[in-house]
């Protein structure tokens, strides 16, 4: 067997450590490259983006300090276009694995996952004070539960005064009935935002906001093409910063920042690394990507929500701008949480192939065990196109040394997992 040929179903596990499985494929790659120096701090515009992306609350506080109304967002189904049209700054929140889930006692019986628990703890701790409003969406089941918990705590008088909490229920089955339902919910959100703004917003304001958000999506597509270029200019960690910042920064400020970054991109040196595509659980923070890239791999794309999904589909600029928003946010590429299994497998395979990935790294955090139901189809689909699949299961926020070791093992081509 070639040292580049990975054994089927090599499985390794030890208590409290990640579980990894390398699925048989014919993947080969060149000699292992030097690991990317991920210890290098961000600089310039990337530094600005990283600060926003990985510390959205800090960024929100800055906006609040400038007297701008800020709407915190949990989930990916909330149309930033409408928040912008209402004259507010949408800030997509990320969970922080450093937050103590026991800060307010044992909340495990709420049956929230660690991501939702982290948001809850931070809210109860007053960390969301800088937000005027909070909108939770339903793209992940645990976030709907989070809303139920917040509503009940509010009823019991146990929530901080700020921010006020709302919920947006967008559904995703591909039917006309679901689209009609979503249209109702988007209309309700528009009305709510007008109430918050204290005045109705016009069609042209929504059109303008949509055009601005779409312009940023186009910039991200350009960014992505540089990331998947034969000589990639950006690492996966860079990309988490750049993509995430689009969901946090003021849209105009982001446009200017990203435009500058792209203008200078030709001067950046190419990055070596075994190209891998990240699939599965969302990267709420950069630790896992850092581990993967420290091991000599280069994350050139991802199918989770902090990746291609967030920008690859433009919001259609329809006569009634709300119709386009419904189409984009109700449809779009299948998410890990709600996407149909077959569609997810096809999407992952297409994206991985498009990015030139030599392997797909499927990472499931323990709380995302339900996503494991998609893996069987992904294995079949990737095997058909001869892309190796490396499966890793690990607790979110756990030490990453073991993951780094597993990826290094793959990169160095031994075919075996420790």
């Amino acid at each position: 067997m070639s040292p580049r040929h990975h054994d089927a179903a090599v499985r390794w596990a030890s208590p409290g450590s990640p579980v990894a499985q390398v699925i048989d494929a014919e993947g080969t790659h060149a000699a292992p490259p030097e690991a990317i120096d991920v210890s290098t701090p961000f600089s310039g515009d990337l530094e600005t983006m990283a600060a926003a992306s990985f510390d959205p609350l800090g960024h929100a506080a800055r906006h609040a300090g400038e007297g701008r109304p800020v709407v915190g967002i949990i989930g990916f189904d909330v149309p930033h276009e409408l928040v912008v049209a209402a004259g507010m700054v949408p800030v997509r929140l990320r969970a922080d694995p450093g937050v103590d889930p026991q800060r307010f006692g044992d909340l495990s019986a709420m049956a929230l996952d660690p991501i939702a628990t982290c948001h809850l703890v931070r809210l109860l701790n007053g960390d969301f004070d800088c937000l005027d409003r909070l909108i939770v969406s339903h793209d992940r089941g645990p976030d709907a539960k989070l809303f139920f918990v917040l509503r009940e705590l509010g009823r019991l008088g146990e929530l901080p005064e700020r921010p006020s909490v709302s919920f947006l229920d967008i559904r995703h089955l591909p039917s006309h009935a679901t689209a009609e339902y979503n249209r109702t919910r988007i209309g309700e959100l528009a009305t709510l935002l007008e109430e918050w703004a204290g005045h109705p917003f016009s069609r042209s304001e929504v059109v303008e906001a949509t055009a601005l958000c779409n312009a940023n999506r186009r910039l991200l597509k350009s960014f992505q093409s540089l990331r998947t270029d034969a000589q990639p200019r950006f690492s996966g960690v860079d990309s988490l910063a750049a993509i995430g910042a689009a969901l946090v920064m003021d849209k105009g400020e982001y446009q200017a920042t990203m435009s500058r970054l792209l203008a200078g991109a030709e001067d950046r040196s190419g990055i070596d690394g075994v190209r891998v595509f990240a699939s599965g659980s969302g990267a709420e923070d950069a630790s896992l990507y850092r581990a993967i890239e420290s091991a000599g791999a280069l994350v050139v794309g991802e199918d989770h929500d902090f990746g291609d999904r967030s920008f690859e589909q433009l919001v259609p600029e329809t006569d009634d701008p709300l119709d386009g928003i419904v189409q984009a946010y109700g449809g779009g590429a299948p998410a890990a949480s709600w996407g149909a299994t077959a569609a997810r497998a096809e999407y992952t395979t297409q994206c991985a192939g498009r990015s030139g990935a030599e392997a797909v790294l499927s990472v499931l955090f323990d709380h995302d065990a339900a996503l494991g139901w998609d893996r069987s189809a992904a294995r079949r689909a990737l095997a058909e196109v001869n892309i190796p699949l490396i499966e890793i299961e690990t607790p979110w926020g756990a030490p990453t040394e073991a993951v780094e070791g597993l990826v290094r093992s793959f990169v160095e081509g031994g075919g075996g997992v420790p």
């Binding site: 909340l107 495990s108 019986a109 709420m110 049956a111 339903h138 992940r140 089941g141 709907a144 539960k145 809303f147 139920f148 918990v149 509503r151 009940e152 509010g154 009823r155 909490v165 709302s166 919920f167 947006l168 229920d169 559904r171 089955l173 039917s175 006309h176 009935a177 679901t178 009609e180 339902y181 109702t184 919910r185 949480s337 709600w338 149909a340 299994t341 077959a342 065990a369 339900a370 996503l371 494991g372 139901w373 998609d374 893996r375 069987s376 189809a377 294995r379």
Partner: protein, 430 residues
């Protein structure tokens, strides 16, 4: 780990009769399947009434899981899932049937001859994983899968005491947009069934099914009230769980209605005669969570040891309070039954107030909660003097619990926390 399974002793004649009927019904269903008739496999939260009205026999996934578990075959089914590359560590209650299908493909034998090959699968997308299980099942069997959206009421303020008004005033309690969506989905399902299985939908027939279902559910309400207010309890969950669950999945049929009536009449006769599930009843317990099907006798262990009777489970209580719906438009009324159903059990604003109300009604001294999302229920119950023992386990996955460990935990809980509460309750009456 234990897989021994303490067997229970049923007290009601109807429980045995229902189980016998169920075996006969299942055998006939299997024959119909072999004869080419379509068979649906549906989740408990799917609107079964459509299938009944269109004379498409259906098997409820979670009931079948209870059978697999009671026959001590759950571990084998989980192993089959794992062997086929599917998870064995989540959605177990929804996936045992798929595991059985995979196991039978490799020569395994399911209980009662095994689940027939499905012609269609259906359920509501209640969790991120639940729809993926059905999709995997669809992939493995080739049966189409019809999914219903799971929607959320996003209003800031909702009523907490829903149980008396929901049957009649669902138009006020449930948002119209959610009902509109499910009505549209019901129409889609009807069209799919008509096209696929050459059946004709009749609104008149659905009205009959809905009326029979409400009659059946009214009997459950009467039975629940009787159990709650009779001390000592005439019957325990060892009987009410199966004697409710089995006919519940025949909801809307004449047999289902008559079975609920027979259950009520037998419980009434026992109450009138002063016949108790546990003649020396000292303590009344509540079981929060799914049934421990592989070890039903465990519930009775505490009757013998402590005079502690499990008088409450969600099976009878949900049948009494969760399903009843009256309305002029059968499709919209049916939607009103299923749109909020899971919220009764899992949305804390509703479930915690309901558990508190039920505990008071049933004169509960202590609650055991297994694998439930019960944070707010625990707070409510504890605040009204009902101690709660939380057990983090999955009812059909015996790698997460053992009988001996449960006996030890629950015994200690009864001795230290429940018995004093029961003594206070009984003392208060004298």
């Amino acid at each position: 780990m234990s897989t021994s399974g303490i067997r229970s002793v049923k007290g009601l004649d109807v429980t045995s009769a229902f189980n016998a009927h169920q075996r006969q019904w299942f055998a006939e269903l299997s024959e119909r399947s072999v004869g080419g008739e379509p068979i649906a496999i549906v989740n408990a939260d799917a609107p079964h009434e459509i299938f009944r009205a269109m004379d498409i026999p259906y098997v409820v996934v979670q009931w079948w899981s209870s059978v697999i578990s009671a026959k001590q075959q759950a571990a084998g089914c989980l192993e089959a899932l794992r062997g086929a590359g599917y998870p064995d560590n989540n959605e177990q209650y929804n996936a045992l049937g798929l595991g059985e299908a995979l196991s039978m493909r490799r020569g395994g034998a399911g209980p009662w001859g095994g689940l027939p090959q499905p012609s269609i699968l259906s359920g509501i997308v209640t969790t991120d994983g639940s729809s993926k299980v059905l999709q995997a099942w669809s992939h493995e069997t080739g049966a189409p899968c019809f999914l219903f959206e799971s929607t959320v009421d996003g209003r800031h303020s909702i009523e907490t005491e829903w149980w008396d008004s929901l049957p009649w005033e669902w138009g006020r309690l449930v948002e119209p947009a959610r009902l509109d969506l499910m009505v549209a989905e019901l129409k889609e399902l009807i069209g799919l069934l008509e096209r696929t299985f050459d059946r004709q939908f009749s609104m008149t027939r659905l009205e009959e099914v809905m009326a029979l279902a409400n009659e059946q559910l009214e009997y459950y309400r009467k039975t629940r009230d009787l159990v709650a207010t009779t001390v000592p309890a005439p019957v325990s969950v060892v009987d009410t769980m199966p004697a409710t669950m089995v006919p519940q999945w025949h909801r809307g049929s004449v047999w289902g209605r008559d079975a609920a009536k027979a259950l009520f009449e037998e419980v009434q006769a026992r109450a009138d005669a002063g016949t108790a599930a546990c003649p020396g009843e000292q303590i009344r317990l509540m079981w929060l969570g799914r049934g421990l099907w592989a070890s039903m006798g465990l519930y009775q262990y505490f009757e013998r040891e402590y005079g502690a009777v499990f008088v409450w489970s969600m099976y009878l209580a949900l049948a009494a309070d969760g399903y009843l719906r009256y309305g002029e438009d059968p499709l919209r009324t049916l939607a009103a039954r299923f749109v909020p159903l899971i919220e009764v059990l899992r949305m804390p604003t509703w479930s915690s107030s309901w558990h508190a109300k039920e505990a008071t009604l049933h004169q509960i001294d202590g609650a055991i909660s297994l694998g439930e999302e019960d944070y707010f229920s625990v707070r409510r119950l504890e605040s009204q003097g009902v101690p709660v023992l939380r057990i983090n386990a999955n009812n059909v996955d015996q790698s997460t619990w053992s009988e001996q460990a449960l006996i030890t935990q629950i015994s200690q809980f009864i001795e230290e926390r429940v018995r004093p509460a029961a003594e206070r309750r009984r003392g208060g009456w004298t």
